[in-house]
Subunit: 212 residues, 2 copies
Amino acid sequence: MQLYNYARSSASYRVRIALALKGLSYDYLPVHLLKNEQVAPAYSVLNAAQLVPLLIDGEERVTQSMAIIEYLDETHPEPPLLPGTPAERARIRALAQDIACEIHPLNNLRVLRYLVRDLKVSDEDKKRWYRHWVESGLAVVERRLDGHPSTGRFCHGDTPTLADCLLVPQIHNAQRFECSLAGLPTVMRIFEACMALDAFSKTQASECPDAG
Amino acid sequence: MQLYNYARSSASYRVRIALALKGLSYDYLPVHLLKNEQVAPAYSVLNAAQLVPLLIDGEERVTQSMAIIEYLDETHPEPPLLPGTPAERARIRALAQDIACEIHPLNNLRVLRYLVRDLKVSDEDKKRWYRHWVESGLAVVERRLDGHPSTGRFCHGDTPTLADCLLVPQIHNAQRFECSLAGLPTVMRIFEACMALDAFSKTQASECPDAG
């Protein structure tokens, strides 16, 4: 398999974690977002959305990080990243989507660029925007996790799932943009438990071939 | 089953379509977003995210529209909304996420409110923002669908899938905000094919008990 991705892309990091949890090897193909390599013709023909990550598996091209992780889980079931009953799987997916649909889309590079370049938002207001969605969004995740009987060492039970693949990159982004992580004891306990595992720590941005 | 939702919420509309495609009956419980009923204590205890939709199925509370639709597909498999091989399912999920992760989060009510109230963006710039993400995002969807061998009468094959449940509400939003739909022949052909079905037309905002 081949993964087109970028060290600092949190959607890419989600997939690197999943591949590592599954013990799958792959070719790391960097697409440098700050150099706009994602809109170059050579990449655009592979992924019409001009986004990373993109997984190539033989003849298949799979896009969108959550769809890629579900694909990996269906094609390489062990260890399961969506274990349990339909209701448990729904809880895991909903936690993932609380991050992938409510927090991250508001804070990715092209959105921040639009705020500054097109809406002429000040740098200070851009940072306020970033922190607002991260902090309010993570507060929701904390409320969902705290005291829920299915919350374990990780977001759902005692093994990592899709939800943890989404949570950890979001926390890295929050730290990088100096968001407040106060009031998130369950989230941060789970983050630390994840980062103690190679699958999460050895795939983080600073460990990637294109780190910098 | 009971569905907490709101006529004009496109995430709610996605789930209403899926329930109708499955032929499932449910109690329609309106949560009026413009009246901020989603942040009232009575609703907040049910859904910590203070978002619609929320599906109640016996003891289970399921949130996040895509997670709800996957839950319905696992608990009521016919007709399948995620048919095919892992790669086909990944294509359907990726199309859905092209809308749910790249377009809709930038345009929902609380984001527009933040732009206006907190960042003091003008009404004109707010509309420009809205149209930018809808038009650029739907152009990506068009490029993915156009000419792809799996595109049929609907986004994937000749029966509606999860992808169509996401596409149709997004087009309704685009029409309401007067976005340009030029250059989207495949998207609009599929939209018309969907709207010819009761599952899509009889669940749209204007047909809901809380329409207005």
